[in-house]
Symmetry: C2
Subunit: 343 residues, 2 copies
């Protein structure tokens, strides 16, 4: 080691860590268009076609808990996480590779369930699982996926493409996956406290949010509809960490400000019921809950109505404003709040 | 879990595990040409161009030991392992992604050393590190790479392309990386037994084999020379697990037998010295030692001499025979031995 100082990784923020690793980025090949810093890397295939490559990991104890996650669901979710990065570039995923690190408490049968879930997802997204490896590890199980896809070169959407005056849109609804996670964690705690083998988790009536957490679906349909409508969004990003986080990334990459309308945030009735049950604020779920795998995108105002005629499952939740106006949440009462990230 | 039986993964052989996972393989996308079962997946990009995608993991305690592996070397080796899979398909790597799972004893400075090594390798192979992620893990450090590359569609080489009468060739020399590993492990044991902070490992005179273990180089030069000579090998595979293993894979995929000539196995003088020092049989190192990242390939007899005129660093070590003749090692005395895998 040339450098003897020791800075614990936990003391370094995620963005600071990525920034510090980008110092090593230099371009050697002639094909790379965009490396680190978006949902996927973009590279030249031909004059008309761009390749997309991304990687994602699910770590046991960080991203999933085997106490309440069936292996089949975990497999489906892993593939969703992988392809979502390609959709978030307005691309079409073609294939993924999967590396699984297995502690010895995982059996061959469990691994088969995981693969059954992955292949069910591969069928759903019309992609192939084209390779992978399995290796032993000492403690937590880890699934790392790489996804490859393509997009017409002029159709690739970056985080940096938001323009002043654009409408900020989002697919589906928000906060459901986080509400599901909260309920699953609550039931796990009850189970652990009671230490009762016969324990049955009480999740009745919460199928929707539990499903959003355990078996999320990526927005293939959005990308297909945009293609059909011949509409190209300005900027795109998928909602994996949470709306507030993704809005920050978009603002930073595009050099713009953002106004979010709190009343417009799409929340499913079942997510609202779950928040009520948990006695928590559903707007916080919608703002900060991750893993919904919805897509946040910007459209010029003139395209919004035309696209809404073709694709129903999106709403306008804000607009792009000059950078000097910052990132603000406008409440139903017209008050303005700064959006801050917890922690 | 629908299946309540528990088969420990350790009781399942590597090949049996891969076979059992291939039951889930079905083709959904129109682009896949070859999925699991070769060094990389192959897919259609255009009439003339094929895409290649592979993944590889290095697991601490299985593939590397931080006691004697500098982070910079580990970074270089990770990239070598990743690009070697693309070369082994007769392709040209363009970019890789890297996912690093970090236990909290790894500092930011160590991670920077790792990245410095990876970028040094990226420069050497003329590729880009186009993305990745860093996530926490509880025990052993894990590095997972995905590599993307391309090859002219008619130039892609599979494990299955060996034909009766072809010459079996290998680049460079064999067993060096394993000899280096043995010496490093010996010094680690001495250090642990003495429990002495001032301990200096005795590796003088063994720079070559230690370098083969810690900083292996993949055979970019072979692929470039084959292209220049307009020669396309029948079959190709890289030597990551060891010659005997790779020969088995080739035989199985091509449906052929193989005759290896023991006297022809290329061994560096320094590897021989290391084996003498360790009082071990250097031929076993050459047959079973892994991680040399050399390339094993077959050529029709007529191409061997022509190619040798252009590219110096390969030798003929055997020939392809009918399947019924099996896999045999012919000693210098003319005796025939079956090749078996240890364990």
């Amino acid at each position: 080691m040339s450098d003897q100082s020791f800075t614990p990784i936990q003391e370094v923020g995620r963005q600071q860590l990525i920034d510090s690793l980008m110092q090593f980025e230099t371009s050697h090949s002639a094909t790379l268009i965009k490396g680190i810093g978006d949902d996927a890397a973009v590279f030249r295939i031909s004059d008309y076609l761009s390749g997309l490559l991304s990687t994602d990991s699910l770590v046991e104890g960080v991203h999933f808990d085997l106490v309440y996650t069936p292996f089949k669901h975990l497999g489906f979710k892993a593939v969703t996480a992988a392809v979502s990065d390609i959709y978030a570039m307005n691309g079409k995923p073609d294939l993924i590779t999967v590396s699984v690190m297995l502690p010895n408490r995982i059996s061959l049968e469990m691994l088969h369930e995981l693969y059954a879930g992955m292949h069910s997802a591969a069928h759903f997204y019309n992609i192939d699982i084209a390779g992978g490896d399995v290796a032993p590890t000492l403690s937590n199980m880890i699934i790392t996926m790489a996804a490859y896809g393509t997009a017409g070169s002029e159709r690739v959407c970056y985080r940096s493409g938001a323009r002043n005056g654009d409408a900020l849109c989002v697919t589906g609804d928000l906060g459901g996956a986080f509400a599901g996670l909260k309920l699953l964690m609550r039931e796990k705690n009850v189970w652990q406290e009671r230490n009762d083998d016969q324990f049955e988790p009480d999740l009745s009536g919460f199928d929707y949010v539990v499903g959003r957490q355990l078996v999320p679906h990526a927005r293939k349909d959005l990308i297909e509809s945009l293609d059909e409508a011949e509409i190209i969004p300005g900027a795109m990003i998928d909602i994996s960490q949470g709306l507030a986080n993704e809005v920050m990334y978009l603002s930073r990459a595009s050099g713009c400000g953002i106004r979010l309308f709190e009343a417009a945030l799409p929340v499913a009735p079942d997510t609202r019921s779950a928040a009520d049950e948990l006695q928590e604020d559903v707007d916080q779920f919608a703002l900060h809950g991750g893993e919904d795998y919805e897509i946040l995108f910007t459209l010029p105002e003139r395209d919004v109505e035309r696209f809404a005629g073709l694709f129903k499952d999106f709403v306008v939740i804000g607009k792009i404003v000059p950078a000097k106006d910052g990132i603000l949440l406008q409440t139903a009462e017209g008050e303005m709040h700064e959006i801050t990230l917890p922690g």
